[in-house]
Symmetry: C2
Subunit: 552 residues, 2 copies
């Protein structure tokens, strides 16, 4: 890399929502901004988690100076334990709450001493992180203590916004620091890496405080139990719910491991203000009248084993929902989770509860700024070059349009993808290369190495099932064969076809042997093709055909 | 059934969206209102279609007098071919366009003569259908020629709304006939079966005409190709697009088999007004400038082989999308299809097209009335009893709340489910029994009889793959065994485990034989358990284990 240049390499989060990770690199070393995971989609049958592929970092392990985390959401910090387990990384920088959440996570993985954990302080000035001078700027988001990262690098000044909205009335009073952003804009910004999640949406995202106002209007009128499900990390949402519980004389039970953990961390670090005596153990709920209780729980995405789903299915030891109860789902389904959330709502409605959700009541707001907020950031920073990050392609493209509208020339807008090598120098920013930046799977105990072929196979098995044919041939004369066994699984009503398949397998085998074909591989191929055709003709299905020929 | 009573038995469409079907029955016979199908969800791995179970109708085949169809959507007519193939049904009643669509469908199934097809005429008076006097009332919906059905029965007067919205400015001028509904309300309605799809949504659904207005604002400003994807049955949507094409001097190419078919039928029957010379063959598109073309296509749900998806993936022979083109997705993703639609949008954006969809532009309206429209119907008909139909439980419950607000006493509101037997008589309406009313699957060529176990197996295979172990034992002394073969599919990185599994299988077999266990079933069980444990211990996965022991 020539001196005076910086390379920016997104390893995740572009062309997708989740697993955000960006490398910023110069000839003296590199830092990694965020290390997020993504949750699998239906097509990732049986996979537990998705991580960015670490190939690029593995090859440059010696150059890694630090990981910098913008905030504590899983799609920004969830890959950190896997990264620290595999690679030597000297430092992890993050603000106080983010660090608290990350410590608890690393502790669970036995990785608390894997790197030096350093608190980033947005109110202080610049610090040296690896080869860069770095500043942190407060940004409002759906978790406290989110920051943008400003890096002075050989190629120019870079601002990475992290996730943000411009909330003028955030619950904790920590606004997106527009004054500081303006000042940084005045100093000159060469490249903006900007969150694009809501770039397509017109206008402005409502303040987090508006959800508290909705709680305050709705809850005092309710007479039964109140359940509120939200993301476990949404500390301000929980704070606002607890505030209303205090005002209406309800005790609060917290159900769901991640929620309990996050509330503990947030209270211990002073990010949440709730007197000890407002809380009640789930097991003690039954001693209270329904209208004296509020239940905060996980499960806003309809996750199968979550608290809310267990409650909806009448399967929770401490909480039953009944006529007169109200459930507030204070979240929006992540794309792909809609049906699970709908099922949960239906179950709750069937149990007699009234269910308020974001489609029919103002009980949720996004943590990401809409297009007018992105325009505001563009206006404050007036960057020379813009590279949209965080989002599916359509969102990145919408952000690019906003940048063009803001006067950034088209050639200074970089629509990169995961693995693009973007070079920033006095000459601007452009894509100069491409490196490997795929996806790694966490599947059971295996990390990072489930083969594509296993997923393809699972998909095939899932669609059409499997048909196994087993037979033997004598090794002496090679003519003797046993009657083939045929087994089918995941295959509709197979009896008639199976009988026919048995006959066909025997016929094919005898014919092969008569033609002196004895090589097991060849025999299996013949069986595979003949049975595949037969089964397709009879059922219009293409199960996976697995022939096994044993020689004895 | 006592004289003076009527039974209403929903066989599909309650507690779900889709496969609508309701039996109305007295001691002199029965009619079936609608015969719809549903599309499979992800959990229905590999299943093609879902139908209502016909068990109840099969047992009463001699009593069936007719099927009455409210409109031509698949979730109301799609099961008809399967029903007519299996059961003798004398008559099918439907309005003209519905009949046209149904005829084409029955023709494809070779069932054109399976029943007498009779045109229902909303402007005429009552007709005899089986034991009932029946009237049809025009309702506006997202397909022309939708009707409500009014049945004079021994137990009382029943109104089944079908699907509807109260569109005061429908594209074809055929409004929901509020005057006629008021007159029927004045005569007295004993039971309302009312569409609940949008019962949760506040206010009023916008008129279909508003989409045409959006087209008229957007399209004249565009300079590249315009593609519009919508449901193939939405004749008015297509009409409005074609109107704007005529106004802006664009030629229209229609891509997608179902869309071409529906446009042909609608034009032939006079439901669509488009001069022949506005159309152009897809193959002739390349002779025109992009700004002289409009492409109407299927694929608004991101269906894998649809026109729009093929275009998005650069895989369509006649249409390539490029910078400057605009794609309008004039539909809303059916729950469960969100990710497919998002993928399609991303692909199109990546190809350079601007994509307008219902989240960011007013290019779609629902065909179902919101709560204020449901209140209007309740006010016009003033039914004695109400039974919400068409919808998930939360929608039915919301409709029940609207009925209560309208003054219907709680005990006269029937929250039924599929299979409920609702008895209507002078004494009101109540659930008196429950009959079998599950779901039948269409899977390949098999109809209605894929076993639950096949789906369970597919799910298991999909999550964890399959591990097959094959071995033989000598039938002479029963001691000789061949080295076991172990095969895995859909299983991450299995090599190490497979070797171990081979050894373990051999050990288990030898031990069994040493203990004189020779029964094949028992041997297989032992193998199954031992390998299951081994694999779980090593991988935390539970693949389906299929042991095959051959005796030779």
């Amino acid at each position: 890399m020539p001196p005076g240049t910086t390379r920016i390499i997104p390893l995740g989060g572009l062309g997708e929502v989740g697993k955000n990770m960006t490398v910023v690199e110069c000839d003296e070393g590199l830092v990694v901004i965020d290390a997020g995971l993504a949750f699998p989609r239906d097509e990732h049958l049986g996979v537990d988690l998705l991580l960015p592929e670490f190939t690029y970092l593995r090859e440059r392990e010696d150059d890694i100076r630090a990981v910098i985390l913008t905030h504590g959401h899983e799609d920004h910090v969830g890959a950190l334990p896997y990264l620290l387990r595999e690679l030597a990384i000297p430092q992890v920088w993050a603000t106080r709450l983010t660090l608290g959440l990350v410590k608890s996570k690393l502790d669970e993985h036995g990785l608390l001493r894997a790197a030096e954990l350093i608190e980033a302080e947005p109110e202080e000035g610049a610090v040296e992180i690896g080869p860069f001078r770095v500043e942190f700027v407060r940004m409002a988001h759906s978790i406290p203590d989110a920051v943008a990262v400003v890096l002075a690098t050989p190629g120019g000044r870079i601002v990475h916004t992290g996730d943000y909205k411009i909330d003028h009335t955030p619950v904790d009073g920590f606004r997106t620091d527009v004054g500081r952003l303006a000042e940084i804009g005045n100093r000159g910004v060469d490249l903006l890496l900007g969150d694009s999640t809501n770039a397509e949406r017109p206008g402005v995202t409502a303040s987090e405080r508006s959800v508290g106002e909705a709680f305050r209007q709705i809850i005092p009128m309710l007479e039964g139990r109140v359940l509120i499900a939200s993301f476990a990390s949404n500390v301000h949402r929980m704070q606002q719910a607890i505030d209303v519980a205090l005002e209406t004389g309800r005790k609060v039970a917290v159900i769901g491991r991640s929620l309990r953990k996050n509330i503990n961390i947030a209270r211990n670090l002073g990010y949440m203000d709730a007197p000890e005596d407002v809380f009640v153990k789930p097991g003690d709920l039954e001693e209270l009248d329904p209208d004296e209780t509020m239940i905060l729980c996980t499960g806003s995405q309809g996750e199968p084993l979550s608290a809310l789903v267990r409650i909806a299915y009448g399967d929770h030891p401490n909480v039953k929902v009944q006529e007169g109860d109200t459930v507030i789902i204070s979240a929006k389904p992540v794309p792909g989770n809609e049906l699970k959330v709908h099922d949960t709502i239906n179950r709750l409605a069937k149990a007699g509860a009234e269910v308020l959700h974001q489609e029919i009541a103002p009980v949720h707001v996004s943590g990401h700024g809409n297009s007018e907020e992105l325009r505001m950031i563009l206006g404050l920073l007036r960057p020379r070059c813009v590279m949209p990050v965080h989002g599916e392609y359509r969102m990145l493209a919408a952000h690019a349009t906003l940048a063009r509208d803001a006067g950034v020339p088209a050639r200074q807008i970089v629509l990169a993808e995961n693995g693009s090598v973007v070079e920033l120098s006095g000459g601007g920013a452009e894509i100069v290369d491409h490196v490997q930046a795929g996806v790694a799977f966490v599947d059971g105990l295996e990390i990072g190495d489930i083969k594509d072929v296993a997923l393809r196979d699972r998909r095939h098995l899932a669609e059409d099932g499997v048909l196994i044919v087993v037979t033997t041939i004598g090794s002496q004369d090679g003519r003797e064969i046993t009657a083939p066994e045929v087994i089918a699984r995941g295959f509709p009503d197979p009896e008639a076809v199976l009988d026919e398949a048995r006959g066909e397998a025997e016929r094919v085998l005898r014919q092969c042997l008569a033609e002196d074909i004895r090589e097991l591989k060849l025999l299996q191929e013949h069986l595979h093709d003949a049975l595949g055709q037969l089964v397709y003709a009879r059922t219009r299905r293409r199960p996976m055909i697995l022939p096994v020929v044993l020689e004895i």
